[in-house]
């Protein structure tokens, strides 16, 4: 019950924002994530931002995957 997509917050007016992913935009409610800032990647579920992507953590995970993949190829 969890279809949620990370989208970049590109516009904001009080608790309503516009977020974008892959060139597709939608109005989102920021009522559940009022501290989101322009440029943040918000996790959007059913038209609401429910969380904010921690980009540093995302990079750490991607780096981990890169290492795992390289080690896998070396075997």
């Amino acid at each position: 019950m969890c279809l949620a997509v990370p989208m970049k917050l590109i516009e904001r007016r009080e608790l309503i924002g516009v977020a974008e992913v892959d060139g597709v935009r939608r109005e989102v409610s920021l009522m559940l994530q009022p501290e989101a800032k322009l440029g943040d990647y918000v996790l959007v579920h059913a038209g609401y931002a429910i969380g904010v992507l921690d980009e540093a953590e995302a990079m750490i995970t991607l780096d981990l995957l890169r290492q795992v993949a390289e080690a896998g190829e070396a075997r």
């Binding site: 009522m31 059913a46 038209g47 609401y48 429910i50 780096d63 890169r66 795992v68």
Partner: protein, 369 residues
């Protein structure tokens, strides 16, 4: 490595599978891991991940599909509301084809009821604004990820005085059924893949009880193939080493404390209740009902005639939902009960264990019926 890494990268998936296989080499017996999120069921089936796992690691789906665990009586009531004069029923697409005792929302719409599919509860609220003379009922189905969005729409309705917007709550929360499963002798689960987006709301700390109370390992994971496989690898490692713990592997969106704003909004409008889970019976404190001071928002209080619910004979959805049997062990599976003519809810929702099995496992290359 020249091309950028992504969470669905096949090279990483392949390497992670290798790591799972190696970790499983240290197991002394076959282990069963359960995911409890319909979106995980879907994601795992779509990538064919089950087929990549070694035979000692069995991955099963638990009661994580909110549509599947919605009791027949709820859909019956939704239909009765749809037939009620001056009423518009708004719903997520997921519910349209769920069989009720005698019909479905899709069929009721064909008979003339005003039933509309929305992507967001805010869209349902907008319909209420545009139709002030009608009662607009939103079918609130979903777990902790979705409830805050419904609470958000209720908050807007209250603030803007949209008096004709109501919710029929079928909402449920995850920890109670997991506790019930952990205590159920029929259920043999060695570790859990925890729902990543439910955890965004409730926080990874909310699942600490799995290790603390039941001595089982659990991992909070996202929905890409690398996320799921990292979770499986961690669980297998914990089981081989005998160290039960709860690990957050979805730290890019899940915090230990979760989303407090969302949870506060939910507690403003909802309180816990004892509700029936289709196939599992009543689980105390596992549902969410509108608080008494918001009775005017509770579509469950509208007077409609709801027939006695009829549960289909022979349906073994309950055991499937507990992971006690695989779909092919149900006598109705792939015979009387198929995605195009579903009997039990496990087959209706594309996340349902039976539907996912029918679509992806049943006729896999070389697979038997």
């Amino acid at each position: 490595m020249t091309t950028p890494m992504t969470f669905g990268d096949p090279r990483a998936v392949s390497a992670l599978v290798g790591r799972v296989v190696r970790a499983a080499g240290k197991l002394t017996r076959r282990v069963t891991l359960m995911e409890v999120c319909g979106t995980h069921t879907h994601a795992i089936a779509a990538a064919g991940l089950r087929r990549l796992l070694p035979p000692t690691v069995r991955l099963i789906a638990g009661p994580g599909c909110p549509v599947c665990v919605t009791p027949v009586g709820y859909v019956d009531r939704a239909e009765a509301l749809a037939r009620r004069p001056g009423t518009i029923v708004t719903t997520f697409g997921d519910l349209m084809r769920v069989p009720s005792s005698r019909s479905s929302l899709e069929r009721v719409r064909a008979e003339g009821a005003d039933v509309r599919i929305v992507y967001s509860p805010r869209d349902a609220l907008q319909i209420a604004r545009e139709n002030p003379e009608k009662a607009v009922v939103f079918l609130g189905v979903g777990f902790e990820t979705t409830v805050p969005t419904v609470a958000g729409a209720l908050a807007e309705a209250e603030a803007d005085g949209v008096g004709n917007f109501m919710v029929l709550s079928g909402h449920k929360i995850m920890p109670p059924p997991m506790r019930a499963l952990a205590r159920d002798p029929e259920v043999q689960v060695d570790g859990y893949l925890l729902p990543g987006h439910v955890s965004v709301i409730v926080g990874s700390d909310a699942f600490a009880f799995v290790a603390e109370e039941f001595g089982l390992p659990a991992v909070v994971v996202g929905f890409t193939p690398t996320d799921v496989l990292r979770g499986v690898e961690t669980l297998v490692g914990c089981l081989a080493a005998g160290t039960p713990k709860v690990v957050n592997l979805y730290s890019r969106v899940v915090r230990p404390e979760g989303n407090t704003t969302a949870r506060e909004l939910v507690s403003r409008f909802f309180t816990t209740s004892d509700v029936e889970w289709r196939g599992l019976g009543t689980i105390p404190g596992s549902g969410l009902a509108p608080r008494p001071e918001y009775a005017h928002r509770d579509a469950g209080l509208l007077e409609v005639e709801v027939p006695e619910p009829v549960e289909p004979a022979g349906c073994r959805c309950g055991e499937v939902l507990k992971g006690a049997i695989d779909p092919p062990e149900c006598p109705l599976f792939a015979g009387a009960c198929t995605p195009s003519s579903p009997i039990g809810a496990c087959m209706v929702s594309s996340e349902g264990t039976c539907a996912a099995w029918y679509r992806h496992e049943r006729l896999a290359a070389g697979g038997a019926r």
